[in-house]
């Protein structure tokens, strides 16, 4: 098996070398990302596919590889990376979600001479360590930090971060950032860890939040990661009878979250602008494979952007225009 992988990798290198050698090239770019039915990842995928229109016009392609579920995220994603190598990718985009499991696979990419861009998770640190060209994305820690800072500045200083996927490096970074953001403004933060059986079940998340708030009545600020968890957290706060006294910020947004921000039941949403992540990661690689041009700015930041009552109308217009 590993022999086959190595063989395929060598073949891929040969193709990659052959490709970069000739002047005009078709770049077959493989993008590793989340489940295509994950609301956030469907936006990243759209960005990648929109950038792929240019790649296609030049004879290349963009292929999305996502796991069936998040039960075994690290090993599954590592497998997808190896699959991309085996399928003869000219360039690969991938998130460094679970470094322990995924880094060896990313190393195999760079060892094979395939241009690599890390996006969405891992930061420039991961990109440097793995020999990737660049990092495109929001820095999870900074996104969480922005949420904590925002709430603490508004006077809500005792916070809890809802973690529905304990063990995933990026979720932990969000929560650490949130707690540090609170601390920087003189607050305190903690993490509410949910069992794995709760992921994806809005009722389970809402009831956990509610129980936690009843048990810890001092908490007045919460941070949730992802659209579904944020909606569930808002409902949990309502059920605990704490609407107005517990304030929420969440990562990402959708129509109902924008409506909640407008209505005041959610304070802010941190946007990492997923569309940009897919779009720029693919563009950087496509342009590099085809023309050898690079982006000298390392760490292309796509977030955090804070959406609150002040700019929510502008964002709603952006959604209507299909840009967000």
């Amino acid at each position: 098996m590993s022999k086959f992988t190595r063989l395929a990798a060598t073949a891929a290198t040969a193709i990659a070398v052959a490709c970069t050698a000739s002047a005009v090239m078709a770049a077959d770019i493989y993008v590793i990302g989340g489940k295509p039915d994950d609301p956030f990842w469907s936006r990243v995928k759209k960005g990648a596919e929109d950038a792929g229109i240019v790649a296609q016009a030049q004879g290349g392609s963009v292929t999305w590889l996502g796991p069936q579920n998040y039960d075994n995220l690290g090993p599954d994603a590592a497998e997808l990376i190896r699959q991309a190598i085996d399928q003869g990718a000219d360039a690969i985009v991938g998130p460094d979600w679970v470094p322990e499991a995924m880094d060896p696979a990313f190393k195999a990419v760079t060892d094979a001479g395939i241009p690599l861009v890390i996006y969405n998770a891992g930061g420039l640190e991961a990109a440097d360590k793995l020999g990737a060209m660049n990092y495109v994305g929001a820095v999870d820690y900074k996104s969480g930090y922005a949420g904590g800072e925002y709430l603490a500045k508004a006077g809500h200083k005792n916070g809890a971060c809802v973690n529905t996927l304990p063990g995933a490096a990026n979720i932990e970074a969000f929560c650490n950032g949130f707690n540090d953001g609170l601390k920087a403004e003189g607050g305190t933060g903690s993490t509410l860890q949910l069992p794995a059986t709760a992921f994806g079940d809005a009722t389970a998340v809402a009831q956990a939040v509610r129980a936690h708030l009843l048990k810890n009545p001092d908490i007045d600020a919460m941070f949730a990661i992802g659209d579904g968890d944020t909606n569930a957290t808002v409902s949990g706060i309502q059920q605990a009878g704490k609407t107005g006294s517990v304030h929420v910020c969440g990562m990402n947004f959708n129509d109902s979250i924008l409506a909640n921000i407008k209505a005041g039941s959610q304070d802010c949403a941190i946007d990492q602008q997923g569309y940009q992540q897919g779009f720029f990661a693919v563009s950087i690689l496509n342009n590099y494979v085809n023309y050898g041009v690079t982006i000298p700015t390392r760490e292309v930041l796509t977030g955090p952007g804070v959406i609150d009552a002040k700019n929510v109308d502008q964002v709603i217009e952006g959604v209507k225009a299909g840009a967000r």
Binding site: D37, P39, L194, T203, Q207, Q239
Partner: protein
């Protein structure tokens, strides 16, 4: 309960068997509840605590009841994990996107659940493929179709719908700000399923199906029809939960629903239903569901590490299966002594 065992003694020998796993489940529930009552304190024992775990129990319970019947009949249904989001997306599409009346959307969602159940039932009865495999296949197919249609029609994987006051009151409100209305639906479902399994004559057919399908067919039980109806019941239950979640949280996600697969099976097994079929009861399933929900929510009130909750649920499951075996041998030996 005494009426049950009396009726069981002279009409159908399974009656006395039914009663025993319940005792085990009941004791299990008491022990688990006391454990968390001591750790969780006044908040857990009071109304906020009760509503907290009853809300969880109601949703998983509405699915666990028909899953329990299927397991008594010797079949599995894993497709519920895909039907929950599929139904909520269907309803959100019909009401939110196409702006049709709420009733149309709800009937559409429930109809989808029944349809998936019908497909499961037909595949299981017309082929020799085990239901475990059939329903895994159907689950992936439904997941893919939900995703495909949602993206095709709306270009998004997360849909939202703001229900009107009547719909919200019936399916998605919190009574007293904390008790989800689905608790009452659950009670309704319990009554209907109790009648179906333990009072109506069809109930004995379900047990017979799981005990020995071949003999049941020879005795004149319409096994294929019965199995298909049972699968349609679980599709209906899962669709109902999906719609209730949409009305409660006002958004439908294409993903989600996966936890219901194993959670519902766990409730049923903790409730004393035999994995091999042929034995189990509605009261047992309800007790199993309550035990599961108490552990799930008790963890947060007890300020324990949630991962410990998973360990307790795992241990409970194993203990339940072990005690089921013990109770079964006990039951069969007692029965032979009496006669």
């Amino acid at each position: 309960m005494s009426m049950q065992s009396e009726a069981g003694a002279n009409s159908f020998s399974l009656g006395s068997l039914i009663r025993r796993p319940e005792t085990g489940s009941f004791l299990g529930f008491i022990v688990v509840y006391l454990f968390f009552a001591i750790l969780g304190g006044a908040v857990f024992v009071g109304a906020p605590g009760w509503s907290s775990w009853l809300n969880i129990a109601a949703e998983v319970g509405i699915i666990a009841l028909p899953i329990g019947l299927l397991m008594i009949a010797g079949e599995f249904d894993l497709s519920v994990g895909a039907v929950v989001p599929a139904a909520s997306v269907t309803t959100a599409l019909l009401c939110g996107h196409f702006e049709l009346p709420a009733l149309v959307g709800i009937l559409g969602g429930l109809g989808l659940g029944l349809l998936v159940g019908l497909a499961n039932g037909l595949l299981v009865t017309r082929t020799a493929i085990p239901s475990l495999i059939v329903t895994i296949g159907v689950m992936f197919a439904v997941m893919g179709l939900t995703l495909g249609f949602a993206v095709l029609i709306t270009g998004s994987t997360s849909l939202s719908y703001v229900p009107g006051p009547v719909t919200k009151a019936l399916l998605g409100t919190f009574i007293g700000g904390m008790f989800n209305v689905s608790i009452f639906w659950w009670l309704g479902f319990i009554a209907v399923y109790f009648y179906f399994l333990h009072i109506s004559p069809t109930g004995n057919w379900v047990f017979a199906l799981g005990g020995d399908a071949e003999s049941a067919r020879n005795a004149g039980v319409p096994t294929a029809k019965l199995k298909i109806s049972l699968f349609m019941m679980s599709g209906f239950g899962a669709a109902f939960v999906g719609i209730a979640q949409l009305m409660t949280y006002q958004s439908a996600q294409v993903a989600g629903g996966q936890p219901f697969i194993f959670n519902s099976i766990m409730c049923v097994v903790i409730g004393g239903v035999l994995l091999t079929g042929g034995a189990g009861s509605i009261v047992g399933i309800v007790l199993g569901t309550m035990t599961f929900a108490v552990v799930n929510q008790g963890i947060f009130f007890a300020s324990l590490d949630p991962n410990i909750g998973s360990i307790i649920i795992g241990a409970l499951l194993l203990a339940a299966v072990l005690s089921n075996d013990t109770f079964r041998t006990l039951a069969t030996t007692y029965a032979s002594k009496k006669k």
